[in-house]
């Protein structure tokens, strides 16, 4: 794989446009290029799923988009503003519209503060409204994520379960009414039954509030469920970008196909793959393979893959892949219909106050 290039970018007027993002850590010999020339865009009201193995740079990408970790080079355009060019004060202001939800719900809340105080904090920092107004808004937001504000007021995070803490973190992220929500593995620490609750909640909130989301996860089934567009990452680069139903039916990049084949299906009659489709492990990002980065594990690798890095190119409408030898798709197949009204204007806002 590899995947520089910007063929997958759509227009200039989309809500978020990330171009040639590069993030590096460390110095000298130990310099790691965690994100290496990644470009993507997200339309308003859309959910982009970012998926890959651990260590592929997906979390770093998410953090760089919010400029939690400023990128070393590249551009992050959000709602017409170039975030990387902003002064610190302007950046803080702009960032109220970009909020994050983290993986570990319990450690992302301050254990010594009451839940309601943590939820009110974003408004308190910006000095919005009186304390009473902030409290009222926090109660409404908690209610909207399914937490009873009556008992949340006086309790601390330890008194809540993991799923409830994740709801509280989501409420906190929504307090400043952001337009873009970056969810970094929001459900991977949760049980399957609770995971479904949180995924449904995120879907509801997205529709009610017209949120745009970047959803980072390693679980392909989860990503498929929430996303309107999926980007597969490998070793700091993008492999493939496509709508989920296309990607999951006709993966074009060998890495996407291998990831899909690795997922255990909860169905004993499903044909079980006799052998693991991918052997070996992720190469070290300090010394990535030349050419296509996936070639060391790729069953289709040829000579050209060691020398030339493949560029992102279009395979079909809204289906982009960076591979010299993309997997062919069956001739008789047609694309499934677009995943519905996700791209359309936000559904009418649900009442924000309790009935």
């Amino acid at each position: 794989m590899a995947g520089s290039g910007t063929a997958q970018l759509r227009g200039d007027d989309l809500l978020l446009r990330v171009e040639h993002l590069v993030v590096e850590f460390g110095k000298g010999q130990h310099r790691v290029r965690a994100v290496s020339d990644v470009s993507f865009d997200v339309a308003a009201g859309e959910t982009l799923g970012l998926v890959g193995e651990s260590g592929c740079g997906k979390s770093t990408t998410g953090r760089s988009v919010a400029l939690v970790h400023p990128p070393d080079s590249g551009s992050v355009r959000f709602a017409g503003t170039e975030l990387t060019a902003l002064k610190p004060r302007e950046l803080r202001q702009a960032r109220t519209k970009v909020q994050m939800v983290f993986q570990d719900p319990i450690s992302s809340l301050n254990p010594r503060r009451r839940v309601i105080d943590s939820v009110m904090e974003p408004m308190a920092i910006w000095g919005i409204g009186s304390a009473d107004l902030r409290r009222a808004k926090a109660r409404e937001t908690l209610e909207s994520v399914g937490i009873n504000p009556g008992d949340a007021g006086s309790r601390r995070p330890i008194e809540f379960s993991g799923g409830q803490c994740q709801r509280i973190s989501i409420a906190r992220a929504l307090m400043l009414e952001p337009t873009l929500l970056i969810c970094d593995e929001p459900v991977s620490a949760l049980d399957v039954s609770v995971q479904a609750q949180i995924l449904n909640l995120l879907d509801d909130l997205k529709r009610q509030r017209g949120l745009t989301m970047v959803f980072i996860a390693h679980d392909l089934a989860v990503v498929k469920n929430v996303s309107d567009r999926v980007a597969v990452m490998y070793l700091g680069k993008l492999c493939e970008v496509a709508p989920p139903d296309t990607l999951y039916r006709h993966p074009a990049h060998p890495y996407s196909a291998a990831l899909l084949a690795s997922i255990p299906e909860p169905d004993p009659s499903a044909a079980s793959s006799a052998t693991a489709p991918l052997t070996g492990e992720l190469p070290s990002p300090t010394d990535p393979p030349s050419g296509c980065r996936f070639r060391t594990r790729c069953p289709y690798a040829q000579e050209i893959c060691t020398t030339d890095e493949p560029e992102m190119r279009a395979l079909g409408p809204d289906h982009f892949v960076s591979c010299h030898f993309p997997l062919p798709r069956p001739a008789d197949s047609t694309d499934p219909p677009a995943p519905g009204a996700a791209l359309a204007a936000p559904v009418e806002a649900a009442p924000f106050s309790p009935a």
Partner: protein, 432 residues
């Protein structure tokens, strides 16, 4: 064997192939902990048997007691604040009555465990070679050279490249997948007849998970070991276990041969668990059937069936009387008053839907009307008894499609209604 405990006769284990009884026979195992919050019933009457060469999948949410079950079988439990009863028979020996010294004859050579988190289960300041050779030298009495050679052979059998070099590494120098392979090598070092794998792939990426599970299956076949595969992921056991036991609140609520469990699910909890998993086969933005609420506190179990507060089928009887285990076909056990696919169960679900019970509505994916939504919210604020509702899926109008197709009975009409007997029908999908 070990010269450490002279005076205590060593246990003699028959060759597993000559065993007349099952390799492992657990009967009515209860493991209670006395804690500051009261008596925590981590295992409350667990029974099952496992033959050699077979795999039992144990599935449940966190807090369902599945890890305690593996510890209780092994005897790896604290000495104090513990109450344990029931029987664990392994290869003709009753393990619960063994002294700690005698248990050392069991651990490693007869029965071994693969822990979930290899970073904390491996000793961070000891090199890989000593962590593997330790048990070879103590349990099998090998000399240093033989133990070293065996360890290298073990490492290459679990798929570690350049094992001689890896022997000199510390755990932190290995990747997560490598560490889990080392854990497996340690567990298999002394040739156990039974392996307890406690979430062996939970922290790993999907690609590595597939590799590790394939490795375990291969090694198990080669050595014809029994295996208990503990996981929270039904997908992991669907293709790899012969039987599956679903645990909830410290009990096995349903147990069946794998195909039967998926095609003839009886227990509403199993059905709900299956439905809450996002499937690759579903189109994106398919609304998930979340299970409302969360598992009960093991120190304060509700009366009756522990799943009743979250169950779409629950009736008054479920909240009062504990359902006894019942059978549905060969090897299929479950505990429910209103089983899935039975006339009673369908009636119960229909009644709950008519009464707009939140759990039933969430289960069918039906869109609650505005009236139900607001009444549920106000009820939640009014009483603390309604915590199940507040933690439930938030009652907001979902833009999903029409609700009516989902209201059909969960088992297709073609399924034979007589579920006392009959072979598993393989044509019936696992979808319901």
């Amino acid at each position: 064997m070990s010269p450490r405990h002279r005076g205590v006769p060593h246990l003699v284990f028959p060759d597993a192939s000559e065993l007349a009884e099952p390799l492992l026979d657990v009967q009515d195992l209860r493991t209670f902990f006395h804690t500051g919050r009261g008596l925590v019933k981590a295992n409350d009457g667990v029974s099952f048997t496992l033959d050699r060469g077979k795999t039992l999948g144990v599935v449940g949410e966190s807090g369902s007691g599945k890890t305690v079950l593996t510890r209780s079988i092994m005897g790896l439990l604290p000495n104090t604040h513990l109450e344990r009863s029931g029987s664990v028979r392994f290869a003709g020996h009753e393990l619960t009555s063994l002294s700690p010294q005698q248990l050392r004859d069991v651990w490693g050579t007869q029965m071994a465990v693969i822990f979930q988190d290899p970073m904390t289960a491996l000793n961070p300041v000891v090199r890989v070679d000593r962590q593997i050779t330790e048990s070879l030298r103590i349990r099998l009495g090998l000399d240093r050279r033989a133990a070293h050679d065996t360890a290298i052979a073990l490492l290459s059998s679990v798929g570690i490249p350049a094992p001689e070099r890896r022997m000199r590494n510390y755990p932190h120098e290995l990747s997560g997948g490598m560490r889990q392979r080392v854990m497996i090598a340690i567990a298999l070092a002394c040739g156990p007849k039974l392996v307890l794998a406690d979430e062996p792939t939970t922290g790993l990426d999907v690609t590595l998970q597939a590799q590790i599970l394939d490795l375990l299956a291969t090694l198990q076949r080669e050595r014809s070991m029994g295996m208990i595969l503990v996981t929270h992921d039904l997908g992991v056991v669907a293709n790899r276990a012969d039987d599956i036991a679903v645990m909830y609140a410290g009990r096995i609520v349903e147990q069946a041969p794998t195909k039967d469990l998926f095609s003839h699910t009886r227990m509403p909890y199993t059905e709900a668990l299956l439905r809450s998993i996002p499937r690759l086969a579903d189109p994106s933005h398919t609304r998930l059937r979340a299970i409302p609420g969360r598992p009960p506190d093991l120190a304060a179990l509700p009366p009756g069936c522990p799943f009743a507060p979250r169950c779409p089928y629950a009736q008054d009887r479920c909240r009062a009387e504990d359902p006894p285990p019942r059978t549905a076909g060969a090897g299929h056990l479950f505990s429910c008053w209103f089983p899935v696919g039975s006339p009673e169960g369908e009636d119960a679900l229909a009644r709950n839907l008519a009464a707009a019970v939140p759990a039933a509505l969430a289960f069918t994916g039906a869109v609650p009307s505005a009236a139900t939504a607001s009444s549920a919210t106000s009820a939640a604020t009014a009483t603390s008894a309604a915590t199940a509702i507040t933690t439930a899926d938030p009652v907001v109008p979902a833009p999903a499609g029409p609700a009516s197709p989902d209201l059909t009975p969960p088992i297709p009409p073609g399924t034979p209604p007589t579920w006392k007997v009959g072979p598993p029908d393989e044509t019936t999908g696992a979808e319901n």
